[in-house]
């Protein structure tokens, strides 16, 4: 088999890169082991949520405070802007419009009642908070005095936190209690579900699929409205529809008559599933071939070029030739890098060098909720996202790395996962779009 460009990985970075390259006319093939952080994320577009543990109000400005070698510094602010702009358009076309912009972060309400800083929110998650009026940016390099949660805008008025009766993965009390602790007027409530196929036990995906159905929504709305009576805004788990974009949310909101806000819930992220499905549909329309469940396990080389990728099928190893290779396999969390028992790290497709640790205890911090050096481990690259050796020289001329695989950033602690994915996808699109298919 042969392809022009192979993209390995189908998380936020691989999906965006494959889509953009296909849109630019490259002939793309996607090889993926399985799902990535679309399914495991919060269902928002994080660009830069925290620096040094402190919430960030203005992500573009705060990028200056990131350490040297961070992927944002490698690709530049133009790529960050390009990535977010492209995503905004893609999402609108897919019926998944997002709110927000790069100048000011917003707060996303979570199932725990915490308010997490993020950049873009899908419309169903966006109605809780309005960002404050922009303030003049401080001089470059200075700490932003408004970089705290208070500057991020807080919910006003009365909030009803409503769970759907019997839904196991959300607790209205847990969410409302924490909101109240933060001074927000929140009350927990429960909305009955109309009778349906899963009367006793159901998952969020099953409930979301049911809510796709207009008849189900009409039966659901009166109970939800009663639970929400008197509230200015209603927080619900992110289960308002699976396969119909944001239309089920908008319809239910108009039936209830009060703004509905989807709170970030545990995996699988239903907003992430919506986005994944949109990418997949778009890639299919662009004629991109897709091998899902086929982990890439090695490459073939000719000098400083990769000529083919080996992937594991059900019964045999497949070899797919390529002109260009994009690795979007993720870091340790995404399964692009193996953390060995002795503290060394192995990049799993091309055997690229990854800086290891003195021993495995150094992988992780002493506190689970603290920072973990292993989360920031990755492949070091040059400004064209090519992997480099210890002296900074590119190792392979036709291999690019994007997203979580890159060294020097911690997607979880920084809240930068989708932003790095989109910015590095933009950079690769700019580099490879100009190269004609051979």
């Amino acid at each position: 088999m042969a392809a022009d460009v192979i993209v390995v990985g189908a998380g936020p970075a691989g999906l965006a890169t494959a889509t953009r390259l296909a849109e630019a006319g490259r002939q793309v093939r996607v090889l993926a082991r399985g799902n990535g952080f679309t399914h495991w994320g919060a269902g928002a577009v994080d660009v830069l949520g925290r620096v040094g543990g402190e919430p960030v109000a203005q992500p573009l400005e705060a990028i200056d405070r990131l350490p040297e070698g961070h992927p944002y510094h490698l690709v530049g602010l133009a790529a960050v802007r390009d990535g977010l702009e492209w995503f905004g358009g893609f999402a609108v076309d897919a019926g998944l419009a997002h709110v927000g912009d790069l100048d000011r972060n917003r707060l996303q309400v979570t199932a725990f009642g915490s308010l997490r800083p993020t950049c873009l929110l899908p419309e169903p998650a966006g109605g809780m908070t309005e960002p404050p009026a922009p303030e003049p940016a401080p001089p470059v390099g200075e700490r932003n005095p408004t970089a705290n949660g208070g500057a991020l805008g807080r919910p006003q008025g009365r909030v009803a936190v409503v769970n759907f009766a019997g839904f196991r993965d959300f607790s209205a009390a847990l969410c409302a209690n924490r909101l109240r602790r933060d001074g927000i007027d929140a009350t927990p409530a429960s909305a009955p579900l109309p009778s349906w196929d899963h009367d006793r036990y159901f998952t969020g995906v099953e409930l979301a699929r049911a809510i796709d159905d207009v008849g189900f929504r009409r039966r659901l709305a009166p109970g939800l409205a009663r639970a929400a009576a008197g509230a200015d805004v209603v927080v619900v788990p992110a289960v308002l529809g699976l396969n119909r974009g944001h239309e089920p949310w908008a319809d239910l909101q108009s039936l209830v008559g009060t703004p509905l806000v989807e709170a970030a819930t545990a995996p699988p992220s239903i907003p992430g599933l919506r986005l994944f499905a949109a990418y997949r549909a778009r890639l299919e329309r662009l004629g991109v071939r897709w091998q899902f469940g086929f982990p890439a396990v090695g490459v073939e080389r000719d000098g400083d070029r990769v000529t083919a990728v080996r992937s594991e099928g059900a019964s045999r190893v497949l070899t797919t030739r390529c002109q260009e290779l994009v690795l979007a396999t993720g870091g340790v969390a995404g399964n692009g890098i193996e953390a060995n028992r002795d503290g060394t790290l192995t990049e799993k497709v091309a055997g690229l060098p990854v800086d290891g640790f003195p021993d495995r205890l150094a992988y992780l911090g002493s506190r689970f909720l603290g920072d973990h050096p292993l989360a920031a481990a990755g492949v070091r690259v040059d400004a064209e996202l090519r992997p480099v050796d210890a002296s900074g020289e590119p190792l392979l001329a036709n291999v690019r790395c994007v997203g979580g695989l890159l060294a020097a950033h911690d997607p979880t602690a920084e809240g930068s996962r989708e932003g790095v994915a989109l910015a590095t996808a933009a950079r690769v699109a700019a580099l490879l779009a100009a190269t004609p298919a051979r």
């Binding site: 495991w40 725990f112 308010l115 196991r168 009390a173 006793r200 399964n335 953390a339 292993l374 809240g415």
Partner: protein, 538 residues
Amino acid sequence: MTHLIETDVVVVGGGVTGVAVLRDLALRGVHAVLVERFDLGTGTSGRWHGLLHSGARYAVRDQESARECIEENTTLRRIAPHTIEDIGGLFVLLPGDDEAYAEQFVEGCRASGIPTEELSAAASHRREPLLAPDVRLAFAVPDGGIDSWGLLRSMAADAEARGCKVLVRHPLVGMERNGDRITAVRVHDAVAGEDRTIGCQWVVNAAGAWAGDVGKMAGVPLTMIAGKGVMVVMASRYVRGVINACRKPADGDIIVPQHEVAILGTTSEQVASADDISVPPADVDRMIDMCAQMVPAIASGRVLRAFAGSRPLYVAEPPADGDGGGGDTREVSRTFTVVDHPRLDGLDNMYSIVGGKLTTCRQMAEAVVDRLAERMGVTEPCRTATEVLPGADHGSHRLAEPLARVERDQAYGELICECELVTRGQVRDAVASGLTELEDLRRKLRLGYGPCQAAFCAWRAAGMLAEAQPAGNGTAPDAVAGLERFLEERWRGQRPTIWGDQARQALLNHAIYRGIFDLQGAGVPDEAAAPTAGAGDS
């Protein structure tokens, strides 16, 4: 002097020994109160591999222990079958193992009354398909698995039903001594935040590895040796029954399948303090490498966590460097001793019960209570070996039970903890019974023990705890802070075993709790302020 509580006997220590003493007293009609600094089974009783000894491990070097073990093994099967998994055990002989030792082993078992059956290599592999191909032969013995939480709960419930009292979260803070007698013990009620005194006629020190501290408060010398043992928890069982190496006991020579996991054991190192439960990564590696000689699949297996416990070792004549560290403590006998303070130290109304093993806890209790009963003039004989425990009518525990329960109740979607098959109904009942901490739910239900290490169950259960509290007015206990404490406590056991798949799991869990839910750990005190012990583990 008046006290808040008056009782005949105060039992110090809520491990299996203390609780067995309490039950023995209760069955003889003696009123007693047990005090425990944390929760039941948070010391050594919760930090071990779960082996119901046949005694065969001691058959060569320590036949007194071996005989105690096989007797109590038989007794526990009768009185507490519901806490036992009747899985049997093998002692396997690998190339390089000394055949002369195997002969001594068989002879030692015979002399100690432990039945053995020799299995050929082929028969061994039929019984345990994952055994190393080069296993030469094996001896089957009546080892088993035993759930110490279940045993503790049953014995405590029985004692309480008979009028005795269990005070958990009541650390001992002092004793009131009048001449040669202790007249009362002082405890701190950690929940109410106040001290109490308990007036008493007699004291039984059953504080295990911490018995020396209790001795100090009573003003008597009692030197315990803290023998640290490190254990490693694998994500699968690998084997049907217990697997032991047929050689002189050494590091990494036992695999105990327990519930859905297997526990590899163990080291035996003398440490300065029983509170030293640190786990050096090198010990983890050694345990895996050694056990993989018996079951090779373990070498590439998924490791969930590691933990350490302190053996309550006692020698009447402590070595000169008794409070030092570093030595191998395998030479110290595993038998038990009733320390007769009236005779040895002129303290007329206290006895300590030290040494021993979980398997022999009932016999230890019998020995000390016999001595006490004689002094008290209680003529009622010991009945703990014949009176079955509440729950025993259930029969022995079987691995497939949780799944059978889920299938019977059609509760597939009802699972709060998918790894351990804990249902919403079980959590609801536990919360309704008054449990308010995830730690307590974990010990009662095994919530969070599985391969995902609480990625999903902990926040679901925290939600149920929040729902059970009165409508949020901002003063209810903060379920989120409780969750953060739970996660940090679990993390300590995970850290030394994180690589490979578990590294991925750890970072995914981090992405859930810190990334999605935005927990920043504000509800957890700094490491320096965290307790150093008290969370049972396995």
